[in-house]
């Protein structure tokens, strides 16, 4: 199959790849670029494990063709930590024991990040709503919800 050039920003750095037409962004990120933080749970848009942020919007990378991402600004969980310091969401997930097997975690964190970027002081309902597209098979939703609320409070403290 013909390869197409694709160029986008991933976690702040420029990426240019030749990618087989029809490749999903999930497969491009994991297999071509080596960012394995988005996970492939279902490859059909129902589990949320592959969630990434494209131009500020939460997207399922398994349902996004890589070639449609030309010029896009893509963020994944792998790019959240800055200079070895964990992002408040990562910190809160660790502190709250909000991961068990960890497979859903990067998707949860991406969904939570988009929520907090828009709604810095979310209610519990806001958090549940924001995470409702993400499945956790370890069924650890309660600590995940708590972690997002804690991260929101931590953010508002540093902003104040």
């Amino acid at each position: 199959m013909a390869k197409v050039p694709v160029q986008f920003t991933l976690n702040g750095s420029e990426n240019a790849e030749f990618i087989e037409s029809g490749t999903t962004l999930l497969n491009a990120l994991r297999d071509k670029i080596g960012d394995t933080s988005p996970k492939g749970g279902c490859h059909q848009g129902t589990c949320g494990a592959c969630s990434v942020i494209i131009d500020g919007e939460l997207k399922l990378s398994c349902l996004t063709l890589a070639e449609t991402c030309n010029g896009a600004d893509i963020k994944t969980t792998a790019g959240l930590a800055e200079g070895g310091v964990l992002h408040p969401l990562q910190r809160a997930f660790l502190d709250a024991f909000a991961t068990q097997c960890g497979f859903c975690t990067p998707g949860m964190i991406m969904a939570a990040k988009v929520l907090l970027d828009r709604t810095p002081n979310p209610s519990r309902e806001d958090v549940v709503d924001a995470l409702s597209g993400n499945i956790c098979r370890c069924t650890g939703y309660e600590p995940i919800i708590q972690a997002v609320l804690v991260a929101a409070r931590a953010n508002s403290r540093t902003a104040a």
Binding site: L131, S132, C138, Y141, E142
Partner: protein, 334 residues
């Protein structure tokens, strides 16, 4: 036609491990030249926290901080034999094997330290911070780092140990058929409160209160997350999840995440857990196997709660609205 409330209770005994042809797990422990410890296992961590627990067990036994231990569960072709991490056996079986291996390694470590300090190995103790010292005279000490270097480059010793834990196969008694399939039981009890709509058959779980008796919680936070998650999995088994709703007929069976009913963050019931610690006699530091048990008592508790609410016994899982409505109809007809 009304929304009816019900409450159900259920208690369970949960065995740790299997009784097939015997239930073995092996472990190997060795030190690196710089005094870190490797635990080699074939027991796989599939997200239940096995590596963390084995590191804690090894560290506690040898007397070093947990971050000095690395657990390698790489390959069942090349690692020491394990029956597998299933039947809630990982912590109990592999943990016991790790203790045995770590004890042997600790003994060699103390012997090398004794040679370096020119004392008897039996007079030495670890300080838990990475040093070995003379009992009662802590100023006379040597770091485990230096002990490992000495073992590797000077004394030609391998600071290592072998561990094997085996529950032998139990055969049924000829007369009675009685057998001892397992050595160690965990226990749990759940009270579930539900609302059942007797017009639609829909069940809403209001509260789930669980008590788990798990021996000893080796890592209380990890135990808590497993129990809380497991409790909700139990509810999910009771009410939603199946691949064959009309078993043995495959019709309407879910084939992917789209059709397979799993709870999401919006479906949580108010959940409470209480952990009781009654250390088991043969468990590593008293631990039992809480793994699968945490998702069991909720199922009969919900079935009992549904019976309490609308007076029908559903004995096939999951307890779907359809099954409830059919049972209500059958009762009305009889």
């Amino acid at each position: 036609m009304a929304i009816r409330r019900g409450r159900g209770v259920a208690a369970i005994n949960y065995p740790t491990g299997m009784n097939l042809g015997g239930d073995p797990t092996q472990a190997l422990v060795h030190s690196t030249p710089t005094g870190n410890f490797m635990v080699t296992l074939s027991s796989v961590d599939l997200g239940q926290g096995m590596k963390q627990i084995m590191a804690q067990i090894c560290a506690e036994t040898i007397g070093v901080p947990t971050d000095r231990v690395v657990v390698d569960t790489a390959d069942t072709d090349t690692g020491p034999h394990c029956m597998g991490t299933f039947a809630s056996r990982g912590t109990h079986r592999a943990g016991n094997a790790v203790i045995q291996a770590a004890k042997e390694a600790r003994q060699v470590m103390l012997e090398v330290a004794a040679e370096e300090l020119e004392v008897n190995a039996s007079d030495l103790e670890t300080d838990g911070q990475g040093n070995i010292q003379v009992k009662g005279a802590p100023q006379k000490s040597i770091s485990i780092f230096d002990v490992a270097l000495s073992a590797h480059f000077k004394r030609g010793r391998s600071i290592s140990g072998r561990g094997m834990f085996l529950i032998p196969r139990s055969y049924p008694e000829k007369e009675t058929g009685a057998m001892k399939p397992s050595t160690c039981y965990a226990h749990a009890c759940t009270v579930a409160e539900v609302e059942v709509d007797d017009e639609t058959g829909e069940v809403t779980v209001l509260t789930v209160k669980n008590v788990f008796e798990i021996g000893r919680a080796l890592n209380p936070k990890m135990v808590e997350q497993q129990l809380v998650g497991g409790s909700w999995m139990g509810i999910s088994h009771a009410l939603y999840e199946t691949t064959e709703p009309y078993y043995p007929n495959r019709d309407h069976g879910g084939t992917d995440f789209n059709q397979y009913l799993m709870p999401g963050p919006g479906d949580l019931a108010q959940t409470e857990i209480v952990v009781l610690e009654r250390p088991s006699a043969d468990g590593p530091f008293g631990a039992k196997g809480p793994g699968e048990m945490c998702a069991n008592p909720q199922i009969p508790a919900v079935a009992n709660a549904v019976f309490d609410a609308v007076g029908v016994r559903i004995d096939t899982l999951p307890i779907t609205p359809e099954r409830i409505l059919r049972a209500l109809k059958a009762r009305a007809a009889s």
